[in-house]
Amino acid sequence: MLWTEFNNNTFVDPWGDFERLNRMLSRVSSQNNCEFPAVNLWVDSDLSVVTTEIPGIDSDDIEISVIEKSLTLSGTRKADELKDKEAFHRRERWHGKFSKTIELPFKVETSKVNATFKKGILNITLPRAEQEKPRKIDIKLD
């Protein structure tokens, strides 16, 4: 496919080929690979919500810590242990220790952070710190 594209050009533009190659490479690298657990971040002017999929873990095994603008999720997802004479036919599920830090768009009111864990989905609500909230400034009239 690439070669026919090259050969069809009677006048060869070397930079055009580079550009094409660059586009192809960026398409490969921009695939959705990310560190476990995958995170979605939802934002508003004074609230942010982080959702993440961590199936097969107990809520006690997840540690959430917030310092100013960064949120860290850590924990361990245990693998099923094999007993005698048992064997894996297929093993695709991720397991092990994880620790992931996410940068939030603003400082967080740490005392008001709320987290729920349902059906393997962790949902963390992080309100913006009071002193950081945008303030409306009235214009004085002379």
């Binding site: 959705n32 990310c34 971040l41 107990d58 048992e86 894996f88 991720w94 768009p105």
Partner: protein, 135 residues
């Protein structure tokens, strides 16, 4: 064995050639572990967002299909600014051999993980065959 990395990626489920989906939702292939035990085959599938009521396990002839419906929860009035995973249903199909006792299949979902127990039929449970030594 693959190298242990932290990288995860949700894969979209494949469609049969020429087929189209009737719903706008995405469908993903859940990651599974399959463990063979002495008495049964144990299948574990990661399906976050799925619970006991939204999972369907169907067996038609030799084809075992697991399907999990996910109701996406969108925080009201917020904008999605960073997205590492997509939300959608889960589907995966397996082809079973005759050695499974179809009546005894059991399924349960906990914390978004489906666990299926497929008991082996009586005939194929490990039998010890004594080897007679020649005199």
């Amino acid at each position: 064995m693959s190298v242990a990395t932290n990288e995860v990626e949700k894969k979209e489920a494949k469609l049969y050639k020429g087929a189209e989906r009737t719903r706008a939702k995405r469908v993903y292939t859940p990651a599974v572990d399959i463990i063979e035990k002495n008495e049964d085959i144990f299948l574990i599938a990661d399906m976050p967002g799925v619970d006991n009521d939204s999972v369907e396990v169907t067996l038609e002839k030799d084809t075992l299909t697991i399907y999990g419906r996910v109701e996406p929860e969108i925080p009201k009035g917020l904008r999605l600014t960073e997205s590492e995973y997509g939300v959608g249903d889960y589907q995966r199909t397996f082809s079973l051999s005759d050695e499974i006792d179809r009546e005894g299949i059991e399924a349960s979902v906990k914390n978004g993980v489906l666990r299926l127990t497929l008991p082996k039929a009586e005939a194929v449970k490990t039998r010890r065959i004594p080897v007679k030594a020649e005199a």
